[in-house]
Symmetry: C2
Subunit: 291 residues, 2 copies
């Protein structure tokens, strides 16, 4: 087996999701060609996933792929973008057909759930690494930015938090339970696109609820007061998982009104900084380079 | 220094090329938002560069970055796309500010030459790896595909070949000479976009002239006859470098007429397979996984 026949195997395994109406030219050329809706802007993001940092070395390839794709697509959800297509760059230590095809099957399953086409990529030799670039579209000016929060906005989250972090904390990746499912099968909340039309700012909870809220507050030059009792903590998780743990991929938004399906956890304030139950707290969640 | 302050440093070093008229939302949000010309399709490609495979471990960061960006942008050139923007995913073993900023300066210099904005990215901890996703636009249906070659088309290349491969063959990366410049400072031929309007098929010479021609022939289900005496061999390189060596990033096109600035090296035939001076040859150039 050589590089090009493995690429053929991978492309064939993706066929079902690679051929949609908006893909003019799919895999197999120098680049992919995509049609964009009239008047739309393109929304693009890129994420890399490496073993030991973003997934345990021992995880099954299919689960790694699924999680990586959803985590990447989540950035489109945070922008209120309509998901469209993705390119995948795989770095593999050796030509392991089963591993590569399983990994891509996992990605392909996640892509189908997001109604996205994986229609281009790159395969190279190197330490295991998965980079996914995701692309969607929005009507011009309608993306939800981090910088849009306004004083008095309600801070709200789209679902229970902390289950994925509780899985990471327990390091019990090999069990088949709800915490493990939360970790390996997050859902990019691309279903909330219409709801986000009512939001002033949004971000996905990848590094931790308070840290991600910190990014909104920094970009919006405002503060926030959060009530811990209002934070929806996932079953099996603790409050600390919900506040500082990452990997949930729910959406965190600020809006003048309650958004359908969201839980209100606090309010945006003029006073800078982040307050939890009236106390100043650090927003620190996950920093990839911390020891 | 933490992850986020390094990201700030990198983004600041890119400022000049990150703010162009078509970037609606640049770095610093969940995703980048880009405006697309009316009636245009989006052209996207992704490439990964790892040490030991795509560049020597000891190369200066700035050179690595420059070369990586140009090699990625070259795929847009091959599609006759107008280059627009790029996302960069960096995997770094440690938080080395100087290395990261130099690398990004190299990319940024290359991006400026291609009139592209680097306007989003990702930074993670892991073995050194650089993934660049590049994006451009074409008028609907006007991209030059690999599959468009026609019998009788003239096979032609946009410049001298083999200098980069001669550098690789000599492994003399640390000298400052023309072969090293060819290797570290390739130019993505985005300047040939208008000329390619006259081509039926195109590809960039990344894996080797004959191998890349093989991709066109496979996609077009045709053969070709090449005359070695017509192949423009770069000074300091040998014919074998020009035919089987990669990394040149010139364009290889087939067209019914001679394209301005191109040298004709052969003709597309109904007879399948590749002939060099009348002899059947293998198209084999670079396969990343070969020992």
């Amino acid at each position: 087996m050589d590089e090009f026949s493995l690429i053929d195997d991978i492309v064939n395994s993706l066929d079902a999701v690679a051929k949609t109406s908006w893909v003019s030219v799919g895999s197999g050329d120098d680049a992919t060609v995509i049609s964009v809706s009239k008047g739309a802007e393109v929304v693009s993001s890129i994420d890399t996933f490496t073993p030991g940092i973003h997934f345990p070395m021992t995880a099954p390839a299919k689960k790694i792929g699924y999680r990586a794709f959803m985590a990447a697509a989540s950035d489109l959800a945070a922008m209120a973008a309509l998901p469209r297509y993705a390119l995948v760059a795989l770095s593999l230590p050796k030509l392991d057909r089963d591993f590569a095809v399983d990994l891509c099957n996992g990605m392909s399953k996640a892509a189908a759930k997001c109604d996205m086409a994986i229609c281009g990529g790159n395969l190279t030799k190197g330490p295991l690494s998965i980079t996914v670039s995701v692309h969607g579209e929005v009507n011009a000016g309608e993306s939800t930015l981090r910088s849009g929060a306004a004083v008095g906005d309600l801070v709200q989250v789209s679902g229970d938090l902390g289950a994925a972090a509780a899985c990471v904390r327990s390091a019990s990746y090999s069990i088949e339970g709800p915490l493990q499912r939360a970790y390996f099968e997050p859902r990019a909340r691309v279903d909330l696109r219409a709801v986000l039309a009512g939001a002033n700012a949004a971000i996905d909870v990848s590094d931790g609820c308070l840290q991600d809220l910190g990014h909104i507050l920094k970009a919006s030059k405002l503060g926030a007061a959060i009530e811990s009792a209002s934070v929806p903590v996932a079953e099996g998780a603790e409050l600390r998982d919900a506040l500082w743990g990452g990997d949930d991929y729910e959406l965190l938004a600020t809006a003048p009104v309650e958004l359908a399906g969201f839980a209100i956890i606090g309010v945006v304030t003029t006073k800078p900084g982040l307050r939890l139950d009236g106390q100043k707290v650090t927003s620190r969640g996950y920093d990839h380079f911390r020891a």
